[in-house]
């Protein structure tokens, strides 16, 4: 898998929230229904920094109540209406390791 | 603040301050714990108060700095600024083992359940808690391990000693450091 990410997102890119689930460590995304999904497609998108702040606040409440660990904002863009991660780290987090030979986890 | 001493929740009769003016007000009222700086600057005046005196050492202040006076203190409080700052463990062992300090050795600051056995084994015998609710959980932690590998100040026989079949206990003060890894 080649991950070319030289493009730097503009300041006002949309953002979403990701975290890890406490019980199994899975990568999860905060949804519009204020719960969590393993699919980035389900993430709630914050179009501007103000909305992002609100989302982060919401996620930190979940973290304080347990069940999710270390929520943070990351940048996304929409491809044909579907949110995709920007930045190499988050792309790898959504797709799984790029080493690809013997992994049971679908990439 | 709630205090566990010798395995029981007790009332803390000590006042604590790092301000000499406050010492002057508090000392006539009861036992007072002073910081090392206050002690070093006002030692004679503090001794004149005639009441019980305790000392608080900050992380990084070696007991050597008060070595000659240690017998004057009924309490020495060592501080865990955060529970991940482990300097007080060495201070405690040195106080007990090198300096032969026999008074109360109190853990203050971030004193949590999962560090309690380490503290006990380094010679602490009292623990200042944030809330009284913590006390039960802390005391439970003491029972998590029956035996340990290293000689320490909890008076228990070490695993090496038990292996030899001697079951000899490490005597809390002289032994700990001096007492042999028990081989």
């Amino acid at each position: 898998m080649s991950i070319r990410t030289s493009r730097i997102p503009a300041e006002n890119t949309a953002q979403a929230i990701t975290a890890n689930r406490l019980s199994d460590g899975s990568v999860i995304y905060l949804t519009a229904k204020d719960n969590w999904s393993e699919r980035i497609e389900d993430c709630q998108s914050a179009p501007d920094p103000q909305a992002a702040k609100v989302l982060l606040h919401q996620a930190q409440r979940h973290a304080a109540n347990g069940h999710v660990v270390g929520p943070y904002l990351f940048k996304i863009e929409h491809e044909n209406g579907t949110p995709v991660a920007l930045g190499r780290r988050e792309i790898i987090r959504t797709r799984g390791p790029s080493v690809g030979t013997d992994l049971k986890r679908p990439i | 603040m709630p205090l566990i001493k010798h395995g029981r929740l007790v009332e803390d009769r000590w006042h604590e301050t790092d301000d000499f003016a406050e010492v002057q007000t508090l000392a006539p009222l009861g036992p007072v714990i002073v910081s090392l700086d206050v002690w070093r600057q006002h030692k004679d005046a503090i001794l004149a108060f005639d009441g019980p005196i305790g000392l608080r050492l900050a992380p990084g202040q070696t007991p050597d700095l008060a070595a000659a006076d240690l017998h004057r203190f009924e309490v020495i409080a060592l501080e865990f600024a955060t529970f991940t700052d482990g300097r007080a463990y060495s201070q405690a062992r040195l106080l007990r083992q090198r300096h032969g300090y026999k008074g109360e050795l109190r853990a203050v600051g971030e004193v949590l359940r999962d560090q309690l056995t380490f503290m006990l084994r380094c010679g602490f015998d009292s623990f200042s808690l944030a809330t009284a609710q913590q006390a039960q959980a802390l005391l439970e932690a003491v029972e998590e391990f029956a035996h340990w590998y290293q000689p320490a100040l909890d008076g228990r026989a070490t695993i090496p000693a038990l292996r030899r079949g001697s079951g000899e206990k490490s005597s809390p003060v002289a032994a700990g450091c001096a007492a042999t890894w028990a081989y």
Partner: protein
């Protein structure tokens, strides 16, 4: 091999119960993540990029076959069917669930294993020469001492919250296969003029953003005083090591700022005040532990094996494997076989559950059921009769583990990098895969000969790139991965830190750059010269000229 007695068993069981309680308190919300994190780290549990990661200790890199089978079982039952062997001779699982970790630890305890102190600011898993007990050049088996240190350091009351992690390595041989100068404390056994065994004590080594080789603190420490001296070093460090800046907190920074002589004065003064007899190791106790590591019952054999010689003559691929992967054994007629985890294009250090089980079988069939893990992330079968090497090699071939590349350019040490690790800035494994594919021609690898190539995905340098002949460090520049190359590092008894050769390469240039470096070596070398010898003779300039010719 060391075997737990009732006390070890009870202790590890208590630790499993304690950690299970900590997990339960975390899940119930009694512990916050901030409170839980240092506790889980002290038991080797990280939260990485995709999931939790559990690092299981393999003390001094020695495993029994039934333990390796258990590691395979855990990989299959609780993880994704594979494990990753690390440069600290441990194994990491990349996908365990928090709720399964107590069960995993209970299963490990059944086979006398644990994850105690595989992370955290405490004394980490003790590492040792992977050829301990079988190398011909050994003074004494370092595992006796590594095991004693393991026990002494386990949940040490005074040294469990140090300024930073603390790594100790022990070698019993003059040839350093344990990177002792890369550790906070390196212990190298030798004998004094009276023939008594003791340690050269080296302190303040470490990799990371400030790579420093350990300096000698004491030339000769009698073995029976090992623990009291370690206690003195640890006590000085615990009190005076910096805690204000994580990047300045390792012992190496203290050694640099104080100077090794000043540190030696502090340590000796502290040591002098530890009363005589404290922590001394009586000879009976050393003998008791040493008995666990007594040599197995070797058969008397002639050193030469006509079966081996015949197979070498008949099969060039086997001959190449013997040349690179078979090491001299101290016992006549026996050999030490390295099993490479690095097939060309593979993931360095990874082994599947099936491979682990098959290797456990082979260790029993052809050896005495013992397996070693090397800091180069390979597995080693220490006691193979020379006559059996060909059959072993054939069996390894079926497993896809017969690569004839130990010590060769495709024997790459790679950290998990950005594919797994939360700290990484760049990927390492795909770069290792790409480079090793470039060098998949056996004849070419043999032509290049002995060389080391290590790839780290960030400045923490888990893959030891600073002490590789060719070191590769992944960095991030404005969202793009770049790879900085260092040349001239050495990890053995002549340890050296490599120097940066010039501007970094991107992920598409780096394999070409490595080829260029190798080509310069092949053009410039004199007869019999290894890569590092040529580099040390000609210096970086010829490499620079070729690498940056078009600039």
């Amino acid at each position: 091999m060391y075997r737990y007695d009732e006390f070890d068993h009870a202790f590890v069981a208590e630790r499993v119960a304690q950690f299970s309680g900590q997990v339960a308190r975390r899940v119930s919300g009694e512990l916050s993540e901030d409170e839980f994190k240092p506790l889980r780290l002290m038991n080797g549990l990280y939260l990485q990029l995709h999931a939790y990661m559990l690092r299981v200790a393999i003390p001094y890199g020695t495993l029994a076959s039934h333990q390796l089978r258990k590691l395979a079982h855990i990989a299959r039952t609780y993880d994704h069917g594979y494990g990753h062997f690390t440069t600290r001779q441990n194994i990491q699982y990349n996908w365990p669930k928090l709720e399964d970790v107590p069960k995993i630890l209970a299963e490990l305890a059944e086979v006398e294993m644990h994850a105690i102190q595989t992370s955290g600011n405490c004394i980490r898993n003790i590492t040792a020469d992977p050829l301990a007990g079988v190398a011909a050049d050994e003074v004494d088996d370092p595992r006796t001492y590594a095991e004693i240190i393991r026990q002494w350091s386990t949940l040490h009351p005074e040294f469990s919250f140090l300024p930073r992690k603390f790594k100790i390595a022990v070698t019993g041989a003059p040839s350093d296969r344990a990177v002792t100068r890369g550790h906070d404390i390196g212990l190298r056994m030798h004998r004094n003029a009276d023939g008594e065994p003791g340690f050269e004590v080296m302190v303040g080594g470490g990799q990371g953003r400030t790579p420093i080789l350990a300096k000698t603190l004491r030339d000769f420490l009698p073995v029976d005083q090992m623990l009291s001296y370690l206690e003195a070093i640890l006590r000085v460090y615990n009190q005076l090591g910096r805690r204000d800046n994580i990047y300045k907190a390792r012992l190496k920074i203290m050694v640099e700022s104080l100077g090794v002589e000043a540190l030696a004065e502090l340590v000796e003064a502290e040591w002098a005040q530890i009363p005589d007899g404290t922590l001394d190791l009586p000879i009976e106790e050393r003998q008791r532990i040493a008995a666990y590591f007594a040599p197995p019952s070797y058969v008397d054999l002639p050193d030469e094996s006509s079966a081996l010689d015949g197979a070498i003559a008949a099969d060039a691929s086997f001959a190449a494997w013997v040349e690179s992967n078979v090491h001299e054994h101290k016992q006549p007629g026996y050999a030490i076989a390295t099993i490479s985890t690095k097939p060309h294009g593979g993931i360095p250090g990874d082994a599947s559950a099936e491979q682990m089980e098959a290797i456990a079988d082979l260790a029993e069939q052809y050896g005495f059921g013992e397996i070693r893990i090397s800091h180069k992330q390979n597995l080693i079968l220490p006691d193979i009769q020379k006559t059996d090497l060909f059959a072993l090699w054939q069996a390894l071939g079926i497993l896809g583990m017969s690569a004839a590349n130990a010590g060769r350019i495709s024997d790459i040490i790679a950290c998990p990098g950005l594919d797994y690790c939360n700290l990484a800035n760049a990927r390492s494994i795909p770069i290792a895969q790409r480079i090793s594919e470039r060098f998949s021609d056996l004849a070419r690898e043999r032509e290049i000969g002995d060389i080391s190539l290590n790839i780290s995905g960030c400045i923490n340098a888990c893959a030891h790139h600073h002490v590789a002949n060719i070191g590769v460090l992944g960095v991030d520049k404005k969202g793009t991965e770049y790879y900085q190359v260092t040349l001239g590092g050495v990890s053995n008894e002549n340890a050296a830190i490599g120097s940066i050769i010039g501007p970094a390469f991107d992920e598409w240039q780096i394999a070409d750059a490595i080829e260029t470096i190798v080509d310069v070596y092949l053009q410039q070398r004199e007869v019999g010269e290894k890569f590092i010898q040529t580099y040390q003779r000609i210096g970086p300039q010829p490499f620079k000229e070729k690498l940056y010719a078009s600039d």
